[in-house]
Amino acid sequence: MTAEPFPFLTVIVLLPAIAAVVVAVVQKAPRWVAELASALASLAVLALAVTIAVQFRTHDAGYQMVSRHQWIPGLGISWALGVDGISLFLVVLTAVIFPLAMLGGKVRQRPASFLAWMLFLEAACIASFLSLDLILFFVAFEITLVPAYFLISGWGHERRGYAAIKFFLYTFVGSAFLLVGILALAFIHLHQTGHLTFDIVQLAHTHLSAVTGDLLFWAFTAAFAVKAPLFPLHTWSPDAYGEAPIAGSVVLAAILAKLGTYGIIRFDLTLFPRATVSMAPGILTLAVIGIIYGALVAAKSKDLKRLVAYSSLSHIGFIVLGLFALSAESLSGSVLQMINHGIIVAALFLLIGMIYERRGTWQIPKLRGLQRPAPILAAVFVVVVLAAVGLPGLNGFVGEFLILIGTFVTHRWWGVVAVAGVVLSAVYLLWAYQQVFHGKPDGENEHFHEMRWREGLLMVPLVGLIVFLGIYPKPVLDRIEPTVDALVAHVDAAAHTRHGPHTPCRERSVRCAGPKATTRNLALAPRSGVTPSARAQDSTHRDVIGTAATTGSGVGG
């Protein structure tokens, strides 16, 4: 090794950003110039991502390839990037999905600006996944809105203006709380240590009273819950997913939604472990409602794109369920499921994009018997649908299975209800598949064009990953697990040590140590993040208090 290791992470963030500027500048040039430039850039990003994955030290739980530079020292903001088991595959996923989305979702109007926005969005997503500085994360997290907004409003469908503004505003309001939360945390840290920093590693050592921790937790979670989206805050997502161009829908659902769940695991669990534990039942309930509600609405949906959008809500519910079940299995499952869902939903959107391109509609009743004219497309579709349903042997199964196992251990009843979501997803997806592909094709459906070889090539990597991760997820899980185990240990430690005289609810800790809860957890899950259910019930009413206090004015510093 040379003295100065190659700054992979900085390069992988800046490369697509610079490429975006270049593509935007050469707008007047012939179409192929922009296309070639963006193809080269996104493939270079993919190559870099793969290199990072290869160089990644498997059994290291901490941040790797860290690069830290001053950015705005006047405000304590630094350019700090690092990769660990949680962010590694999200970066790889981003690098895989973006080229496919750009190729699969080609647009006719102003292709250069479209590609420039896509590359810019890619840079912002990767930066969000890699940043270790909270303000840098916030900048990247917020800046994703701009390209996403222009992609929806510039190349979307009928009600694109409405959908774009709704999307922007929902996220913007959520971010308002996130920013205040970040600053509050940093200043509490400043008062304790005497220096202003937004570095997550240092901020994780901040001592927070229970009330402050809870309030900060809600401030952070508000932003992530909107982005994910979590149940009552999801209403922007069907509109945005539905009205966006295909490439936009792909990256919104596959990548941008993961920013929310990633934010939860990276920031909520790391920075506010105690609040996470005490708030878990509330969030779990919302996640389960999201699973069932998304599935039910998807089942009722007559529009393929909205069906996928709502199924996405349901699947994100699973991921959040796994995150807040707080056992090592469920967390690993959630991280894996973020990847899986990204692949599956990207494939689904690309496929229904192909259907739209041929038939000009997403209305399920207008589509019929497509299997006969297009058997290959139908076959690919069925593989993807089965992966989404969670068929063993395909990737969706592995993640869901881990999540459910982990949840059963710590939060049994939530797990029980969530299983119904699995069944429902089988119902609506297979039902939709039947209606669209089975039967006798009529009218225009008879002349439905078979999958072209270019489209087929697009699906090859996605289907390949679906099968590969379904059969052999070990290489991925091996890299996820050390980080997740460390995180669970961190949450456990924080949940069981109470510092300071501010502990609000003394009898709670007594109950926590109660023999019933402990033995049951130990018996079932030797390495799980123990979240005694006794406490779960207790903190349901605390949710209400927490919510009320968030809307109130002062926070106990």
Binding site: Q70, W71, I72, P73, G74, L75, I77, I135, F138, V139, A140, E142, I143, L145, V146, Y149, F150, S153, G154, G161, A164, I165, F168, L169, F172, V173, S175, A176, F177, L179, V180, L183, A184, A186, F187, L190, G552, S553, G554, V555, G557
Partner: protein, 553 residues
């Protein structure tokens, strides 16, 4: 007798160098006036613009030189303690000088287009800028009042510059009446403070308060309240904002931009100095007032902007929202808060001048096309303008990688540090509300060619008729009843198809930046460039604002 007076009158030693920027901006307009009076022919507007630009650059240079003097030697006073020479005042001088240069560029393009000759715009703008600088550097309440009046009276006239439009005269009258009233209140406040503390000199007032327990002094509190009213009027804080939408809408657009940047800079600089430096000890008395006013200002500005259909009115309310943000920094009443307010003021000046420069161009000849409908499909007709306006509006909304974001970040961090969590959250929520109306303009600009379904006809009817022969006619004129006379044939056509022939023989089909006067384009590019460059390479300006506050007198 006369000898007696001379010996009794001790003239203060005047450090001319300390007030060099003000002197330049007061001398230059006098020279311009003389030149215009003595020259036999009407001089082209470019000559005056050149003069103003040169004066602005000179005062910018002088301000930067002052900065290099202040940084190593620390803050000081000049002219017998009436002028503070500190980082704070110098930074505001740098801002105002830059705005003068930009205003010269924008004014040139505007006046040439409107066919308004004469040096009035340039002369008044420079006087007004000198007044704002004086407000920022004054260390004495009387001098602040002097600066306030120099700045305001010039602005009243500027607002009425476009004599052909009724709105302009109305704006001037409204601004003048309310402004004169607020000045009187301000003056009364000075009198009361003088009565309570025995001085109008800011350090002496601070000194007095430090040595006497005066917190429950009704006279002093009343004086402070009246001063606040005067300041709130100038910075357009709710509930003293009533004039803002009308004046912003009625004034010639370049004047609106200038007013938004300069009047706010002067008003806020004096407000921050007086209340943080002099009345700092009484912060328990004024902080709640500022808190309340900040909250109302933030929310009223953001919410009322939502329902505006006139872009200038919308930007007027948005400027009220911005004023609320700057007040949040003052409410914190910490060094960080003042630095944040100063930073906000500084970067906001560039954003708002740039935004109104774009609005100037889009308004076309006659300066009337300010309806939202005029922005529909702008991206296809004027990609440069649309991109710049999008950038500036996103910056005003506080999107990262722009100075607008850092300004909000800085303000919120100051509020959070001072434990004003509720205020911080309210401010951010108001920013989210504000984002909606900025985005609405951006959506319209980048929307497709579908012509104004459900949009009322633009006010531009007369403007379109007038502009038919000029190169400024843009396709928006092709819809709306008044346009029919100019563009009968194209009246029904969707606006994206540019009515080439309709422009009165202006035959080229290139919809690009052809219609943007070069000087305005340069000003817009400078503002947008500043906003983006220092949004990414943020350290220099952040450090500037921080140092300026450390060098507070």
């Amino acid at each position: 007798m006369s000898l007696f007076f001379l010996s009794a009158l001790v003239l203060p030693k005047i450090a001319w160098s300390a007030i060099l920027p003000e002197l330049i901006l007061l001398a230059a307009p006098l020279v311009l006036l003389a030149v215009s009076a003595l020259s036999a022919r009407r001089l082209p507007t470019g000559v005056y613009a050149g003069g103003m630009g040169a004066a602005g650059l000179a005062s910018l240079g002088a301000s930067v030189w002052l900065w290099t003097q202040v940084t190593p030697h620390g803050a000081g006073t000049a002219v017998d303690g009436a002028i503070a020479v500190d980082g704070f005042s110098v930074l505001v001088m740098i801002l105002v000088s830059s705005v003068v240069v930009l205003a010269a560029l924008i004014g040139e393009g505007y006046l040439r287009r409107e066919g308004i000759g004469g040096p009035e715009y340039y002369v008044l703008a420079m006087f007004s800028a000198a007044g704002a600088m004086l407000m920022a550097s004054a260390d004495d309440l009387v001098l602040i009042f002097l600066g306030l009046e120099i700045m305001s009276i010039a602005l009243y006239v500027l607002a009425g510059l476009d004599a052909r439009r009724q709105g302009s005269g109305e704006a001037a009258m409204k601004y003048f009446l309310l402004g004169a009233f607020s000045s009187a209140i301000f003056l009364y406040g000075i009198a009361l403070v003088y009565g309570a503390t025995g001085s109008t000199n800011l350090p002496q007032i601070a000194d007095f308060l430090a040595h006497n327990v005066a917190s429950s002094d009704g006279l002093l509190l009343a004086g402070m309240a009246l001063l606040l009213v005067g300041f709130f009027f100038k910075i357009a804080a709710v509930p003293f904002h009533m004039w803002t939408p009308d004046v912003y809408q009625g004034s010639p657009t370049p004047v609106t931009g200038f007013m938004a940047a300069v009047a706010k800079a002067g008003g806020f600089a004096a407000l921050l100095r007086v209340f943080f430096a002099s009345f700092g000890l009484l912060r328990d008395d004024w902080q709640p007032v500022i808190w309340l006013v900040a909250v109302v200002t933030l929310l009223v500005g953001a919410v009322l902007a939502l329902v505006q259909r006139d872009v200038k009115r919308m930007l007027a309310y948005s400027s009220i929202n911005h004023a609320g943000f700057i007040l949040v920094g003052l409410e914190a009443a910490t060094t960080r808060g003042i630095a944040a307010s100063l930073y906000y003021l500084f970067v906001y000046g560039f954003m708002v001048v740039g935004t109104f420069a774009v609005v100037t161009v889009i308004a076309r000849r006659g300066d009337e096309a300010h309806d939202l409908g005029s922005y529909r499909g702008l991206a296809q007709r004027q990609p440069f303008l649309a991109a710049m306006l999008a950038l500036l509006l996103l910056a005003q909304a506080g999107v990262p990688l722009t100075t607008g974001f850092l300004a909000k970040l800085y303000i919120i961090s100051a509020a959070v540090e001072a434990h004003s969590y509720a205020l911080a959250v309210i401010a951010m929520v108001s920013a989210a509300i504000a984002a909606f109306f900025y985005l609405r303009v951006v959506v319209l600009m980048y929307a497709g060619a579908k012509s104004g379904v459900g949009l009322p006809a633009p006010l531009a009817a007369t403007g379109a008729g007038e502009g038919a022969g000029s190169g400024e006619l843009s396709p928006v004129a092709a819809y709306g009843p008044g346009a029919a006379s100019a563009a009968e044939l194209e009246g029904d056509r969707p606006e994206a198809s540019r009515p080439d022939g309709a422009g009165g023989g202006e035959g080229h089909g290139e919809p690009d930046a052809a219609g943007v006067p070069a000087t305005i384009a340069l000003a817009i590019a400078l503002c947008a460039g500043f906003t983006l460059l220092f949004g990414i390479w943020a350290q220099p300006v952040v450090e500037l604002a921080r140092q300026a506050t450390l060098l507070f007198h």
